[in-house]
């Protein structure tokens, strides 16, 4: 009887789960009474829940295996791809999306708008990192360094030379790109784990330098009174400037998506993807490995630098604590969660990872727990990401595949 076997399996899984969660869910030390409280009811709950979840998952899997006609295609990812593939539907879909984005701040409070600006910043950051990690396959754990370079460029240029947002924006982006090249040169020969460690170190070096080089960056106390972007010399109220920043971000997101999309289909984009697949073959094809890698680092960093400037303008105050390793991890999670190399995926990943914690503030204590659980579940059920990248298609005429 297969159902009995499934129940037995679920029972075993539930018992394991109870055993594993026993120390945190059941035992509670009471430091005042110097006693241990045994919360047996929790164990029952954990056992029952994990039993039913496990059983449901197993049965569902069996059902799917028996009815392959349902196929793996009835999921969110391909739904979005189906819409995007159909040019009429795509236009309508994007139109609605754009309209919703434009109308959003007029219906939402400025608090909501502020959160959305943050989310959009992470969209662009994710798209930037997507170039480095998703396309070129270079695992970068220090991406936040470029974000910091951009933010400090604006803050310091304003502090010392009184430069405004619009002058600092290209400078910040370009300085970050230069930083990307500086990081790129020494790591040209590295791949995989080694590259990850060096980039991690680079991120920490930048943060520690900002923290300790007081004369340059004002140290941990940070830089305050950074102006928000002005609107043709007009002074804006707080709400107005948030609104303005929101629309600036919308434009940035659209521009970034456009550029990244074009980049992916360009020669350099193809070189990145080939480099990710096989370095030796790449060189045998005549691709300049060094230039290609440096371009990936520089272009990825470019967007991070630009967003750093926006971030500084948005918060009007920056200090090194905003640029910790955790930020790099979040940006990387956005790319991995959304689907490496996939632009739609990264956009959705950023919105989910930034907005969910904001709207689930009540559960904020469990945020990191949920974060970890989501990533583990992702790796098990959708290792290719929420909305994986699709291969470009070639029109073919009446081809039959005779492969058995």
């Amino acid at each position: 009887m297969p159902i009995l076997a499934e129940i037995r399996f679920a029972l075993r899984a539930a018992l394991w789960f109870v055993f594993l969660t026993f120390p945190i869910m059941v035992i509670k030390a009471d430091p005042i009474g110097q006693t241990v409280i045994w919360r047996w009811r929790n164990a029952v709950w954990v056992g029952a829940c994990s039993f039913f979840v496990c059983l449901a998952l197993r049965l569902w899997k069996n059902y799917r295996a028996k009815h392959p006609a349902l196929g793996p295609s009835n999921d969110g990812g391909s739904f979005i791809h189906r819409i995007l593939d159909h040019s009429g539907q795509r236009r309508a879909f994007l139109g609605i999306l754009l309209a919703a984005a434009i109308l959003f701040p007029f219906f939402a409070s400025s608090y909501q708008t502020n959160i959305m600006i943050t989310a959009l910043i992470y969209v662009v950051l994710g798209l930037g990192l997507n170039i480095v990690v998703g396309m070129a396959g270079l695992l970068d754990l220090g991406f936040v360094a470029f974000y910091a370079i951009g933010a400090y460029t604006y803050a310091l240029l304003h502090l010392h030379f009184g430069l405004g947002f619009w002058q600092s924006l290209p400078l910040g982006a370009c300085l970050a790109a230069l930083g990307g090249i500086c990081l790129g040169f020494p790591v040209l020969r590295l791949r995989g784990d080694y590259l990850a460690i060096v980039t991690l170190g680079f991120g920490e070096i930048i943060r520690l330098a900002l923290e300790n080089w007081g004369e340059f960056s004002q140290g941990p106390s940070g830089i305050a009174n950074i102006p928000r972007p002005g609107f043709f010399g007009m002074t804006l109220s707080l709400d107005q400037s948030i609104l303005f920043l929101y629309f600036i971000m919308i434009v940035f997101v659209i521009a970034t998506i456009f550029v990244v999309n074009r980049l992916r289909d360009s020669r350099i984009g193809r070189a990145w993807i080939a480099l990710r697949e096989d370095e030796i073959a790449c060189q045998a094809m005549g691709i300049d490995k060094q230039k290609t890698k440096l371009a990936a680092f520089a272009l990825g960093a470019f967007w991070a630098g630009g967003m750093g400037v926006v971030f500084a303008a948005k918060t009007t105050f920056i200090n090194p604590a905003s640029f910790t390793f955790l930020e790099s991890v979040i940006i990387l999670s956005i790319v991995v969660l959304g689907g490496m190399g996939s632009i739609v995926g990264v956009v959705c990943g950023a919105l989910i990872l930034v907005l969910l914690p904001e709207y689930l503030r009540a559960l904020s204590e469990y945020r990191m727990l949920a974060f970890g659980a989501i990533l583990v579940l992702m790796m098990i059920f959708r290792p290719q990401g929420l909305i994986p990248t699709i291969k470009s298609r070639y029109p073919l005429e009446n081809l039959t595949d005779d492969r058995p």
Binding site: A271, D278, I280, A284, M285, G286, K391, Y394, L396, R403
Partner: protein
């Protein structure tokens, strides 16, 4: 066309090839045979710039190319099919072929060459939307060769094209090598362990042992050479 003069190269402290001099003229099929670890692949990698040359000269049409970046060497018309095929596993067959033409900008020529490799290997056309990694070993070898051809090289460096293939496929691959040489005039430098086959198609050959060339001659001469027979042909 290609001339190596006292070339040395290696990895770390080990010198894999010690003193190699050889000549390949235009339109020839030249083979380099030798046992495992004799330095055959290193010789090819050194020519295409993937392994740095530690001494001697490599001349392509009279121009010194040792120390040039690998992409410049491809630009000069030398295209390598690396050992173990090294196709891009997650790109489709068509994308793999497109990567071969990476340095070319003449779209019409690329299109013609694509048709040409499809006539050489019709199976690739059928598989063009499949991932490279989903191909069988023989198909991958065909893809690797076709990809190198997409660069329209003047000279093709083939590293063990028969490795791990069934005898029938080996025969087919070697037939294609001869056809390329005959119809397109592509100069071919063939590194092989399958000495018998290689000597049959090659005009001339070199025998490599411990990083040095010990015998050279026409394919027929080498096949008749006693030393070569006992060491590589198992006679």
């Amino acid at each position: 066309m290609l001339r190596l003069e006292h070339v040395r190269a290696g990895y770390g402290n080990i010198l894999a090839i010690k003193d190699i001099s050889l000549v390949i003229s235009e339109g020839e099929i030249v083979t380099l045979i030798g046992a495992n670890g004799a330095g055959k692949s290193t010789t090819l990698m050194t020519i295409s710039g993937l392994v740095p040359c530690r001494g001697g000269k490599i001349l392509l049409n009279g121009r010194e190319i040792q120390g040039e970046a690998p992409d410049n060497i491809v630009r000069l018309g030398l295209s390598q099919v690396p050992e173990g095929r090294h196709i891009f596993p997650l790109l489709t067959v068509k994308e793999n072929l497109d990567m071969g033409a990476f340095l070319r900008r003449d779209k019409d020529g690329v299109k013609r060459d694509l048709e040409f490799v499809y006539t050489l290997f019709p199976i690739l056309e059928k598989r063009q939307r499949q991932h490279g990694g989903a191909l069988s070993g023989g198909e991958q070898q065909m893809l690797a060769m076709s990809r190198a051809l997409m660069a329209r090289p003047k000279m093709l460096l083939l590293d063990e094209p028969s490795m791990g293939l069934a005898p029938l496929l080996i025969k087919q691959i070697f037939a294609i090598i001869e056809r390329l040489n005959r119809e397109r005039g592509t100069t071919i430098f063939l590194v092989e362990q399958n000495a018998r086959k290689a000597l049959r198609v090659a005009h001339r050959g070199y025998v490599l042992e411990n990083g040095e060339i010990i015998v050279t001659g026409t394919g027929r001469e080498l096949a008749a050479n006693e030393k070569v027979q006992s060491a590589y042909l198992g006679m």
